[in-house]
Amino acid sequence: MADPITAPIPVRADRRVWVAGFLMVLFALVPLYAWRADDVYVLTYFGRMLIFALAAVGLNLILGFGAMASLGHAMYFGFGAYTVGILSTWGLTNGWLHLSLALAVTAFIAIPVGWIALRTRGMAFIMITLAFAQLFFYVFVSLRAFGGDEGLSLTELSGFGALTGNKYAIYLSLLITLVLVLWFTHRLVKSRFGLVLRASRHNESRLNALGTASQPYRLVAYVLSAQICALAGFFMANLTGFVSPSLMSWLISAEFMVMVLLGGMGTVFGPVIGAAGLLLIEDGLKTVTEHWPLVLGALIVLAVIWLRQGLWGLMAPSGDTKASPVDQGEH
C-alpha cells in the first residue's frame, strides 16, 4: 500500500491536468463575464470559492502530506480577517501592512500552539487544535470593541492605492495568489523538506532513527499551513467587507477538512476541487430545501465511507496507484 515516497510525484499529462487547467481557465474567465454582464456579484460568489480553496490547500499541506489532522485551522482564517478588521478600525489602512501583519501574527501564535499540539499524535492532536481554536473564538466573541459576537463591518478595506476595494482587483489577486500557493505547494512537497514531511507520515520512528528529527519540519509545515489560511482570511475580509467570530467557528474548521477529504487528501490540486464541490453542493441544496444541512450531513457521512480517494482520486487514470489515498495510519 505504501508507495515509495522517494519516487517523484508524477507529472503525467493525464486527464486530471486538463481538468485542473480547464477549471483554472474557468475561474479566470469569471471577471470577463462579470464585466460583460455588469454583474459584480459573481465575483463575490466565485471569490468565496477561491478563498475556501486557498484555505483548504493550506490545511492539506499538513493534513494530506503530514497526517496532522488539525481541527482548528479556522482560527488562522479568522486571524487573517481580524487583522484587516482591527487595523482599519484603528485607522491604519495600508494594505501591505495588513498583509504582513496578518502573516506575522499568525506565525507568532502558530509557533507556540503548534509546539504544544505537535507533542501529541492522532486523536489528541485533533482535540487540542480544536480546543485552541475555541479559545480564540471566545476571545473574539468577547472583544466588544471589535463587534463581539455580532461581528464588525469594515469601514475601510486594505488600502492598495487606486485598486482599494475594487472587486475585480481583489478577485484577480486572489486567483493569482491561489496559483502561486499551488505552485509553491507543488515545489515544497517535492523538495527535501517535503520528503521529510511525507516520510513522517509513513514512519516517524524510522525517520528519527535515520537521524532526521521530524519535529522541526512538522512545526514549520504547521506554521506555513496556518499562514496560508490567514492569507485566505485576509482576502475574505476584503471581499465581503465584514468579519465576525463565526469565521473562526469549529464548523468552518470541519468544513475545511471535508473540503480536503472530498477533493483528495495529499494531492496538490485536490482541495481546490473539494472546496468548489462542497460550496456548489451546499448552494444547490439551499435552493432545493430549507433543511439543507439534513441532506448535507448525510452526504458527508456517505462521502467519508465510500469516496475515500476524493473526487480528484476518482478522476485518476485507472490502474494509477499513485492516485490512491495516502495511508492515514496513526503511529
Partner: protein
Amino acid sequence: MTLNLFLGQALNGLQFGILLFLMAAGLTLVFGIMSFVNLAHGSLYMFGAYFAATVASYSGSFVLAIFSSMVLIFLLGAAIDRAGLSILHRRSHLDQVLATFGLVLFSNELVRVVWGNAPIYMDAPDYLSDAVNIFGLNYPAYRFAIIVAGLLVALGLYLLIERTRIGMLIRAGASNRTMVSALGVNIAWLNRFVFALGAGLAGLAGALVGPILSVEPGMGEPVLILTLVVIVIGGIGSIRGAFFGAIVVGLVDTMGRVFVPIWLRATFDPAMAAAIGPALASMLVYLMMAVILAFKPEGLFPLRARG
C-alpha cells in the same frame, strides 16, 4: 457575603463539573476502548434533553422523563452502532471525525425539523424547586440534586468498571482488544455495550440540564468541546482522569467567569477590566489545558499508569 459567594460558585462549578463528567465518562470509554472519535456525542446529549422535555410535558412526571430519556438514548446509541458506526471503527480518526461531523449537522437540523427552531423549556419538579441550606447558604435544590445524582452515577460507574465481570472485560479491551477478542470475548458486543452506555450517560446529562438551560438546536457543541478538553486533560481513555478533569474544568470555568472580572476590577482600571475580563475568563480553561499539555502531553492520568 464573600464566603457565601465563593461557596455558591464552588457548588455551581462542582455541578457543572459533574455534568461534564457524565459526558466525558462515556466519550473517554469510547475513545479508549474502541479508539473511536465521536463528535456526535454532543448530539446525543441534545437528543437526551429534547426527549426528556417532551416526555415531561406529556406525562408530567419528571422522574419518568429522566429515566425514559436515558434508556431511549442508550437504545439509540446501540442502534447507531449497529446501523453503521461499526464500518467506521476500522477507519482512521480523521474519517471518524468527519463522518461524525456529518452526523452533527444532520442531528441539529433534524431537531429543527421535529421541534422547531425556538428553544423549549422544562421545569424542575415541585419538590426540587426550593433551596436547600448548606452551611448557611441557600442553594437551589435542583442543582444540588444534580450533584448528588452525578456522584451516585460516578460511584456506580466505578463499581461497574472495577468490580464486575463486564467491567473487567472493558478494562481488558482498553489495554489490548485483539487479545481480548482472541480469548473468545465477542468484542463487537462489548463495543456496542460501551458505546450505548456512553450514549445513555450523555442522554442523562442532557435530560438533567433541561430545567437549568434552554433546550435548543446546537446546544451540544459547546458542551462537546469542553468535554474534549476534559478528556485531553485527564488522559484519553481514563475514567479517573475524566472525573478529576471534569471537576477541575467545571470549577475553573465557573469560578473564573465570576472571580476573574472581580479581581481585574480590583487591580486595573474599570475600562480595562471590562474590556479584557470576559475574554480572559472564557480563555482560562483552555489556557489551563495548554499549560498541562506543555508539561504532560499524555494528560494527568494517562491510561498506562493504571497498570
